[in-house]
Symmetry: D2
Amino acid sequence: MSNSFSKEYLVVAQNASGRNMQVPIYRFRGQQQGPKVYIQSSIHGAEVQGNVVIYHLIQWLKRIPIRGEITLVPNCNPVGTNIKAGEYTLGRFDPVNGTNWNRGYYYDRDAVLKFARTVGPEESVESIKQRFRQVLQQGLHQRLNADWGLGLANQLNLKLQTLAMNADIVLDLHNGPVSSRHIYVPEYAADAAKLFNIPHVIFIPNLFAGALDEATFCPWWTLSENLTKKYQRDFNFNIEAFTVEMGSQEVVNFAEGEEDAEGILSYLNGRDVLVDASIGPAPMLRYASKLKDYRTLFTQTGGIVEYCAKPGVPVNHGECLAKVLNVDELDNERAVELITAPCDLIPVLHFPSASVLSGTQLYKCLTNYHQL
Amino acid sequence: MSNSFSKEYLVVAQNASGRNMQVPIYRFRGQQQGPKVYIQSSIHGAEVQGNVVIYHLIQWLKRIPIRGEITLVPNCNPVGTNIKAGEYTLGRFDPVNGTNWNRGYYYDRDAVLKFARTVGPEESVESIKQRFRQVLQQGLHQRLNADWGLGLANQLNLKLQTLAMNADIVLDLHNGPVSSRHIYVPEYAADAAKLFNIPHVIFIPNLFAGALDEATFCPWWTLSENLTKKYQRDFNFNIEAFTVEMGSQEVVNFAEGEEDAEGILSYLNGRDVLVDASIGPAPMLRYASKLKDYRTLFTQTGGIVEYCAKPGVPVNHGECLAKVLNVDELDNERAVELITAPCDLIPVLHFPSASVLSGTQLYKCLTNYHQL
Amino acid sequence: MSNSFSKEYLVVAQNASGRNMQVPIYRFRGQQQGPKVYIQSSIHGAEVQGNVVIYHLIQWLKRIPIRGEITLVPNCNPVGTNIKAGEYTLGRFDPVNGTNWNRGYYYDRDAVLKFARTVGPEESVESIKQRFRQVLQQGLHQRLNADWGLGLANQLNLKLQTLAMNADIVLDLHNGPVSSRHIYVPEYAADAAKLFNIPHVIFIPNLFAGALDEATFCPWWTLSENLTKKYQRDFNFNIEAFTVEMGSQEVVNFAEGEEDAEGILSYLNGRDVLVDASIGPAPMLRYASKLKDYRTLFTQTGGIVEYCAKPGVPVNHGECLAKVLNVDELDNERAVELITAPCDLIPVLHFPSASVLSGTQLYKCLTNYHQL
Amino acid sequence: MSNSFSKEYLVVAQNASGRNMQVPIYRFRGQQQGPKVYIQSSIHGAEVQGNVVIYHLIQWLKRIPIRGEITLVPNCNPVGTNIKAGEYTLGRFDPVNGTNWNRGYYYDRDAVLKFARTVGPEESVESIKQRFRQVLQQGLHQRLNADWGLGLANQLNLKLQTLAMNADIVLDLHNGPVSSRHIYVPEYAADAAKLFNIPHVIFIPNLFAGALDEATFCPWWTLSENLTKKYQRDFNFNIEAFTVEMGSQEVVNFAEGEEDAEGILSYLNGRDVLVDASIGPAPMLRYASKLKDYRTLFTQTGGIVEYCAKPGVPVNHGECLAKVLNVDELDNERAVELITAPCDLIPVLHFPSASVLSGTQLYKCLTNYHQL
């Protein structure tokens, strides 16, 4: 009646002590056929709320029957999780060379176009899907086995991607610095945005910048567009991938994690992964922008900053976003500089430290946003 | 009618570009005689709220007349303020060698005892005070001019101390990691604790561990005790020094900074620094422990932590302080470990990151505390 | 008779204390017309030998007459120079976000192609050059003045590029980790490789990856190729740019710096910058590979490494490059792993620490190399 | 005929992934009675040559018979070994709080004096030694089991010390930054200095500053002095402990490691640990200073440094130690500052980076040195 469960470990790196660093893989299989789901968290080491979300998902999955299979990989970056610099976790990039831990996944546009040429007008979506997945896995394995080796972040990403690439649905759980909950949704899957309980949505185009969600959907999107154009009919491979930002980094909250888990279950139920479940999306306001309208405001000056605008609370053009204190001018009118909103916007996240240099990403904001 | 004002700069270090790093010195002098006050902030680079407090103090001091002199040195550590490691400020210690920026001040117990032997039974407190200050400054300058040089943190500390050593009242503004407002008060000045608007108080003994407050009061306390014992009468030099922890690091808040400034003015008014001001302490609950009862709870295991107890809210023996998630055990009963209070306590601060290794300072707590 | 000299400063950033961070600009102008030369050093903060080279160049330029103008900007990254992490300089990337300090220069291929369409068949190279430079400067200024601001590394790069863009010859002085002297030369300027006294040469194609040399020559190369194809004649704009790697990071040597400076003067003399100078290239062996054959060998395992192959000394296929000690296996035959050369090669640089994780860039090597 | 061998692991910490971090323990037992020896390496994570030395010691110990027991713990700090900050290892201190990994060992002078009072005039050295060791182990265990826990570095140190405290001979293998081989020798064991093949010797007094060698010999030295004074006869417990600095950090060399191992065997042979071995000290010059004459020269200014004096090569008063380049003054006579020797000295180590702030430990030097 219930799901079967297994746990195993995947070695993703080796540290300077010569010891294996591995990630746990939790897997639930339903008794009925259905989509394969892959969920990972904490590819950026300081973004840990996703681990709590996966904990709650596992509690649910021990009780509620699913179709298909759900694979969960919490704390998927054992290197980044364990680099401290001061009290905080230096989790965003490889401390050796600055490589972002979330930019080394595999996508080869030329290989997709080459594969597209092998698809005849009559081939079924199922058959295409199966063949294409094989080709993708081959490309991945070839890269992983490069004769001169591969960089650490790249290796880590590709080893995780061998798991993700078998899935139809991929969720990559992240956090912003100080952040509202928000989600990156590929434009073709825009309707999914309403199935999550996430207030802020960024719609992204078919462009690869190295992240797992893009690496997952770009091949299928590209293939689908190519074939649709060629054969003038729809090719829907039912592959979806999302980067889900579960609030702020460096903090976890079990109660919120339970709600986060419910939101994910709501989406999964919308995709027929749950059997006889009644979980649906919460009634709430959801706002969205296109990626090109999801803008970063950089500081022009350095100083000590109070973040006056809170993530998620709309700000009108000209209203105060932040105050910057200049310690050399405390006795005169240059003591405090006001930074105001360049247009109407919803701040989604802000920098997590009061001390900023010039050129710091102060806020990231939805602009030209609309309600979903 | 009003105070005179001046601003200057003190070079405290030179960076690898060969350029001077300097701190701003704001100084207000009243028209009447009175105590000398020295206030600095941000010796730990990530503890920045004190800069906002000094900003508000300066606004007040432009308007309200004082007795004596107030010297304010915001952002007193231009090295520590500017070391980023990831998005946060690595401000607690010299990144080269780990030396805490707040442990290199000068105190020489033997020099105090040697000086004490020069004091005759009839010498006035004023005369002793003047002679002793000279001796202290000489000791300081001698150390600063060591023939083989001095370490960076040590130099920084001693240069600031040349300013602080002339003062009768020294306030060193800090922040905790995630923290309530609290204050370190030398036991002999316990009554001062009620003049500030700070809810949590730690009474410290006549022991030097390297910090500015200790470096300021230890010589006078030691001298006073020594002479009192010898001559069987009171020697009160009216020197007070405090480390004031203005909430959490890495954040500033202007509105709270204004209240913080008022609390300091309340204390200064209690010490006759203000002329005709009516600022007094706020009615509030204040709790205190001795330093030996201000205890640190360390983690026994590593993992992902939710801090369930909030700074400032009392916790009873056995109640939950924190939950630790173990990502390798999410499917079983070892998934979440509870850390409970080993006794009745008030948590004053906790670690600022959810990711902890074993041996992490999870909480610092008042125990055996009493209401003031 | 001699050159005129001036010195000024350019503000390139502001630190968290709200203070300007500036770079010194040394400029020599000859009495005769000639090319404009721009030389900078230490965009990566730990790569400091170039500063010594510029010091020696300045001593020469005070004595020997030049044609045109030479601008020298030592220590061009005052942020990266001053981030310590332990005793070493964390100089390769912005510690806040991992952004490589040498990847944010400006190049807009589309803008080049658009400009190319404005060039008529009769326009002189001089006229094209003047107009194109104006267009490039406009593009640069537009980007620098982006309404939502720019990231720190990007700002730094673009401000330096406003200086470099006026030059005909650009030298960007770097260092490798533990490294022989080597130079990146654009394929079209291959003959320049023999004018420097640098033993190892990498020929790079017309591809932009963000560095200053590429940002300098890519527009002109692209323009030249486009016009040559269109009008079937040569368009030579005499723009050359090189990244010159002056040995190992974290060390300087004045005597070697003098030789380095002579090598640069040899090249400049070859480009008619020096008046009546007799400095020419040293007789020496020079080896070169194409960029695609300049390969990185990554570690497969973590451990403690002895680098057996020295930078600059050829290694045959199968010979030992490195030994890796595994501290868990000291009692058996797995204690030491040998890493051997996958083909004939010249190691150019190796990782500067004995402690490596899997996926570390152990060696970078010339393969398929030939003597120049 | 040969030694028996065993290998086990000791858990010393747990990382943020909740995983145990352990150190390997290699142990050889001879067939004859004899002293117990404890050797560890890499308590500072970047000081790795000791691991190679232990590797070579193990190869010897598989072949040559010993008396007593030798315990070897390479890579004894799995936390510090694995913190990278840029390409180097941030191995000297806990990155969270700056705590030096080599300052948290246990020594309680009062406990020693208390124990001394329990020793009667007739008690044998063997009996005292056995009882005292028990008391020391109790003190250690009590501290390790503190009810509010212990800091990470402290825990690591004490866990290692439970192994070291059973030994009669303790060697703690370190490296300097850029360094000659040197050794810290307790004054009472001065004759041991000639048994090692180490050219530079620092004699240290009976003072505890937190390191393992001090933590090992201070209790016995204090006890011995106390009893000798009380009972007017010699109490020799034959406990020796040394910090041995095996050259420079961040590099390993297998060939040199073999020589290092031979030097240690020479000392062990001098202490009767080897059976029928003919290994003795090499003929070489050895120079020594007292700790108070082992002096640190700090920089007064910041800049780019060439280290002109090489570790191990004597420098006369007034000769050049270093040149400092100031990038803002390259055109005038302030471009290069000379730092000269304040007295006759032997530089033992220097800072490992060319970029220094003011207050940097430029050189550590033997002064008032003499030949052994």
